[in-house]
């Protein structure tokens, strides 16, 4: 089973139309990966779909980096009883 990081990178690559190999944990979604306003919303929506979770809108949108998203999603999955180990 893919790790949370791999799945986050996969979703990010799909939404932003990027090569997953180009995406690193320290990358900022907007500054490094070029996410525009609507793409930020799409990223959150796709993460919810991928992991089967619901995220708080403001908290999710305040996450700025890929690594931050991995941590945030891992925490939400844990809270909502979604197994990602």
């Amino acid at each position: 089973m893919a790790t949370v990081e791999e799945r986050v990178k996969m979703v990010t690559a799909k939404v932003l139309d990027l090569d997953p190999e180009r995406i690193h944990p320290e990358d900022s979604f907007t500054e490094d990966l070029g996410a525009e306003s609507v793409q930020s919303i799409e990223l959150v929506a796709m993460f919810e779909e991928e992991f089967g979770i619901e995220m708080d809108e403001d908290a999710a949108l305040s996450v700025t980096t890929v690594g931050g998203a991995v941590d945030f999603i891992t925490a939400v999955c844990k809270e909502q009883g979604v197994d990602v180990d």
Binding site: S37, I41, V44, A45, E57, A60
Partner: protein, 465 residues
């Protein structure tokens, strides 16, 4: 300068100061004064206490059927009756809209007047408008009106060049004969001092006003002359320090104080040729003129008159309460005007289709957090018009989510968040980025997409659509 600079401490403020006494939101923002205004008149300082307006019987008068019709195709009788009925509701039982005036020259003019009076409303009182011709009083008498406006033009442009009088005296004598005829007919004359902001104030307007006051001394109070100050070309200036004849403060002061025309018998009638029409009207109120003459949506000769609905909102702001006014009638009147083919610009304050519609995503974001951030007052409560967003490529997800929530009428916890509208947001962006669209997206298009992307909400909230 620097030596006298004051230092301003930044105190620790942990709670927002929303100034709700000035911006109550369930009423238009209040207009409050914190001291008198000083105007120099004939070299002497004169104080005006604007706060006294709260206790004065200031009123709105209407000329939608007279000046308002001079710029439009004529209203039908049924249309006039409908508008009159709504005007009465808008002004309320205290008669904030105190009077409205009618032409009396055609059969339809007189029929409209009769049918309006048959409604039995106390306010607005129906008055007439005739030329300064003695024979026209027959029309006023036959119509059973107690008051009529008379055209008494007072600038030399009118006196000498239009009416061809040979002197001020000849002109004044002629006008006064007609005023006497009004008295004789038992009709109160309201002298319309046309073009007063371009008139010879000292050598015609003030002597004429003196004579009108003298004539009024010989008749019962209810017949005494009223004076309407007509800023025919929109030349009036509201600023303190402006000189006559354009100064509204000085003009009103001189008539009020020097000629003794009581405030209750002074009325301001403006035109919008220089974009000053509303503020000039409000200025006239503040400086001592009790009546502000206006038309619905400012329809009137050339650039129009003071907009009546603007005067209504100003009235509430000055008085600090609704005083019986039914502001929802503004929206009904606007809808009715549109339904009979009279256009109101979309961005027109209080009544245009888009007056409280934002296209900026950042404003929509503010609206979503707290309506008060970007809505002038509670427009849903006062006008039946909640704030809306129009969708373009600048709307952002904030604008789109606001539109969706308003469209489905979702409140509180029910409201959808931004994440849930991502497919609609993508469709909107692609309209511009991919399809090359250059126009806003209509509500109808968005509704179709809302049905596609939110079938559950559609089934729950739009089953009757």
């Amino acid at each position: 300068m620097a030596k006298h600079r004051r230092h301003h401490n930044l105190p620790e403020v942990l709670r927002p100061n929303l100034l709700e006494d000035i911006f109550p939101h369930d009423l238009p923002p209040q207009i409050r004064f914190d001291g008198p205004v000083v105007e120099y008149i004939d070299g002497q300082p004169v104080q005006f206490d604007f706060s006294s307006v709260k206790n004065r019987d200031i009123v709105i008068t209407d000329t939608t059927f007279r000046d308002g019709q001079q710029s439009l195709p004529p209203y039908s009788v049924d249309q006039m009756v409908k508008i009159y009925d709504l005007l009465s509701r808008l002004g309320g039982p205290n008669g904030v809209i105190r009077q409205t005036e009618f032409f009396l020259y055609t059969k339809n003019d007189r029929l409209a007047l009769d049918r309006c009076r048959e409604l039995g409303h106390k306010y607005p009182e129906c008055t007439g408008w005739i030329r300064a011709v003695k024979g026209d009083f027959r029309l006023v008498r036959e119509a059973g009106l107690r008051e009529t406006g008379l055209l008494t033009s007072c600038s030399d442009y009118h006196i000498f060049h239009k009416l061809k009088f040979r002197s001020h005296k000849e002109c004044m004598d002629s006008y006064c004969e007609v005023v006497q005829a009004a008295f004789d007919a038992g009709v109160r004359p309201r002298c319309h001092l046309e073009d007063v902001t371009r008139a010879d104030i000292d050598r015609f307007v003030l002597p004429f006003a003196d004579r009108l006051m003298e004539m009024s001394e010989g008749v019962p109070e209810e017949l005494s002359v009223k004076i309407r100050l007509c800023d025919t070309m929109g030349f009036g200036i509201s600023y303190p320090g402006a000189e006559l004849p354009r100064s509204i403060p000085k003009l009103i002061y001189k008539l009020n104080h020097d000629c003794g025309v009581p405030s209750s018998r002074l009325e301001w009638h403006g035109h919008n040729d220089f974009h000053k029409v509303h503020i000039n009207g409000a200025t006239a109120w503040l400086y001592g003129c009790d009546a502000l003459n206006s038309t619905l949506f400012g329809f009137g000769e050339r650039t129009g008159n003071p907009p009546l609905e603007g005067a209504i909102i100003e009235y509430i702001a000055l008085k600090g309460g609704l005083c019986g006014i039914d502001t929802l009638a503004i929206t009904e009147l606007a809808d009715y005007m549109r339904s009979i083919g009279l256009p109101i610009p979309d961005n027109y304050p209080f009544a245009g289709r888009a007056f409280n519609v934002t296209r900026a995503g950042i404003h929509a974001g503010g609206l979503r957090q707290d309506e008060r951030i970007y809505n002038i007052f509670d427009t849903e409560k006062l006008l039946g018009r909640p704030p809306r967003v129009a969708i373009t490529d600048k709307s952002g997800a904030d604008g789109i989510v606001h539109w969706v929530n308003e469209f489905f009428g979702l409140k509180g916890e029910e409201r959808i968040n931004k994440i849930k509208v991502h497919r609609l947001a993508r469709w909107v962006i692609d309209q511009y980025d991919v399809e090359g669209r250059l126009t806003s997206i209509s509500d109808q298009e968005l509704a179709a997409k809302a049905k596609e992307f939110f079938p559950d909400y559609w089934a729950k909230y739009k089953t009757n659509v």
